[in-house]
Amino acid sequence: MKHILKLHINGEEYEVLTEIHKTLLEVLREDLGLTGTKRGCDLGTCGACTVLIEGRPYLSCLTLAVDVQGKKILTIEGLEKDGELHPLQKAFAEKGAIQCGFCTPGMILTAKAFLEEQPHPSEGEVKKAIAGNLCRCTGYVKIVEAILSVTDRSSEFGVGSSES
C-alpha cells in the first residue's frame, strides 16, 4: 500500500506517494528523479549514497524515507546556490579530484559535513572522515588535496593557489 510522505529536500517540500518500505535512496532516485545520489552497494559499505540530514552524513540506502519526513535533507543537487557552486565542488573539479565521478556526490557531501564540524582538520583527520567513501579511481590523493584546499580559502572561493 502506498502512503504520502512529506520530504524536505534541498530547501523544497516534496510530497511523494510511495511505499513504506522504500529507502530514502530509492525515493530520491526513483520517485523524485534526484539521481545525483548514487547506489554503489546498497548495504552502507561504500558511501556513494551519502546525503546530509540536518547537516550530518547519512547512508540513504540504509535510511527509511518515512523515517526522515520533516528533516532537512541535502543532496548533491542542493549544494549549488543561485548558480554559485560550493567551494568544494569547484575545488574537486579544479584539483582533478574527480575521475569517473560516481563517488563524488557522496564524497563532497561527507567533506562538507566534516568541514562544518571541523573547519581546520589535518590530512589524517580528513582521511578518517572520508574513509567510508570508497573511491577506486583516484587513490584519494587529489580528493584529500581538494578538501584541504577549501579550508585554506576561508569563506571566499575563487581565491585558490595557482595550480600546484
Binding site: 548495504l43 552502507g44 558511501g47 540504509l62 561527507t110 572520508i130 567510508g132
Partner: protein, 340 residues
C-alpha cells in the same frame, strides 16, 4: 536489493514502544538502522512490524552526576564522541565510538543500537541468494551450524549457533562496569551490561519480551582504559578482534582492579576473568604482561565466524593484550583522540 514489506510505527513513548514490541512476535526495533536495514535486505530477518524509536523524546542525553555518567540509549554515536564531557572524563569511550564503521555510521548509529547489534557470522550476514547455496543454518531457522565443521569421524555436530558478537562499545562499557537500565512491560530494571549478553548466537540478548534498553550508567571515571581494535583496513570493518582494558592502581602502583573484555571471539563480549584476576595486586612488569596475555588467550574460544581463522584471532588476542598492557603501563597513556 529491496527491503521486504513491513508495518511501520512511531511510538511517542518508550512505554508505548515496549507494549508494541511485546504484543507482536514479529516486531523489531529501529534505531539508527545500520544493522537492522542491512539484515532486512539480506532477508535474515523479516519483521512484520518495525518500531521506530527515534520519535521518542528524551532518550538521547549525556549527563554526569554523583553516581556517574548517564547516556540515553538513543544518543547518536557521533554525539557521544564529540561530547566535551566524554572527551574529558571518558575519552576511551569516545575513541571506541570513532572506530565504529565510518563517519556516516556514527552519524546514524545509536548507543542502544550498537550495544544490541546482531551477532555476526560469515554464513549469516549474506544475501538470500548467497545463503541459498546451502540449507538454512540455526540462526535463520534451520537445523545446522556451518561454523562447526562436520567431523570426518561423524562426531557430534554442533547444536547451537556460534555467531559472534562484534560490537565496539560493549567491551569498553563492560570494562567500565556499566549498568544498563531496561524498560519492559513489567517496568524498569537494571543490571550490569555484561549480563545483557547470553553468549547464545541465536538469542544473544537477555531481554524479555517487550524490553527495551533505556539508559547506560557508567560509574565515575577512575583508572585508565584502553580500546584496541584490530582489522585489516583502518575503517569500515568490524573487528577481527578487539579488546577493552581497564585498570586501576593504588598509590604504590599496584593494580587494584583490572578488567579485560574482548569482542569478536564469542557469542557476546568475553571478559577474560582469570587473566584479570592475575593482574590484581600485582605489578605490571614484563613477566606479568607475558603471563596475563597467555592466560587471556586460553580463556577465549573464537570460532571461524569470519574469513579469519580462530588460530589467528587467538594469536592477535595475545599480541593486542600485550600491546595494551604495555601501553597502559607507560607514562603517557592516552593517545590524543580529541580531534579524531
Amino acid at each position: 536489493m529491496r527491503l521486504p514489506q513491513f508495518e511501520y510505527v512511531e511510538p511517542k513513548t518508550l512505554k508505548e514502544a515496549s507494549k508494541l514490541l511485546a504484543s507482536d512476535k514479529g516486531s523489531l526495533l529501529l534505531a539508527g538502522g545500520t544493522d537492522l536495514i542491512v539484515n532486512m535486505k539480506h532477508r535474515v530477518i523479516q519483521p512484520k512490524q518495525v518500531i521506530n524509536l527515534k520519535a521518542i523524546p528524551k532518550l538521547a542525553y549525556i549527563t554526569e552526576g554523583k553516581d556517574g555518567l548517564r547516556i540515553g540509549t538513543l544518543s547518536i554515536l557521533r554525539d557521544i564522541a564529540s561530547s566535551p564531557l566524554i572527551k574529558e572524563r571518558y575519552p576511551t569511550l569516545g575513541q571506541a565510538v570513532r572506530e565504529v564503521g565510518a563517519y556516516a555510521h556514527q552519524s546514524m548509529g545509536t548507543l542502544g543500537g550498537n550495544l544490541c547489534q546482531g551477532n555476526r557470522c560469515r554464513f549469516y550476514n549474506q544475501s538470500a541468494f548467497w545463503r541459498g547455496v546451502r540449507p538454512p543454518c540455526f540462526k535463520t531457522g534451520g537445523k545446522v551450524c556451518y561454523v562447526v565443521p562436520v567431523r570426518p569421524s561423524g562426531g557430534p555436530k554442533s547444536k547451537e549457533c556460534h555467531s559472534a558478537y562484534c560490537g565496539d562499545l560493549a567491551p569498553v562499557l563492560i570494562a567500565l562496569d556499566a549498568q544498563i537500565k531496561i524498560l519492559g512491560p513489567e517496568g524498569e530494571r537494571s543490571l550490569p551490561l555484561k549480563k545483557l549478553y547470553t553468549h547464545n548466537g541465536k538469542k544473544p540478548l537477555a531481554l524479555k519480551k517487550g524490553e527495551i534498553l533505556k539508559e547506560i550508567l557508567v560509574p565515575p571515571a577512575s583508572g585508565k582504559t584502553l580500546y584496541l581494535k584490530w582489522r585489516l583496513r583502518d575503517s569500515l570493518e568490524f573487528p577481527i578482534i578487539s579488546l577493552a582494558l581497564h585498570m586501576e592502581k593504588d598509590e604504590k602502583e599496584r593494580i587494584k582492579k583490572a578488567k579485560i573484555v574482548f569482542s569478536a571471539v564469542g557469542g557476546g563480549p568475553v571478559e577474560v576473568i582469570e587473566a584479570g584476576k592475575m593482574l590484581k595486586n600485582g605489578l605490571l612488569d614484563e613477566q606479568m604482561i607475558e603471563k596475563v596475555s597467555n592466560q587471556a588467550v586460553k580463556e577465549i574460544s573464537p570460532m571461524r565466524t569470519s574469513i579469519h581463522s580462530p588460530a589467528y584471532k587467538r594469536k592477535m588476542a595475545g599480541i593486542l593484550l600485550r600491546q595494551a598492557l604495555e601501553e597502559i603501563s607507560s607514562e603517557s597513556l592516552i593517545r590524543s583522540n580529541s580531534t579524531l
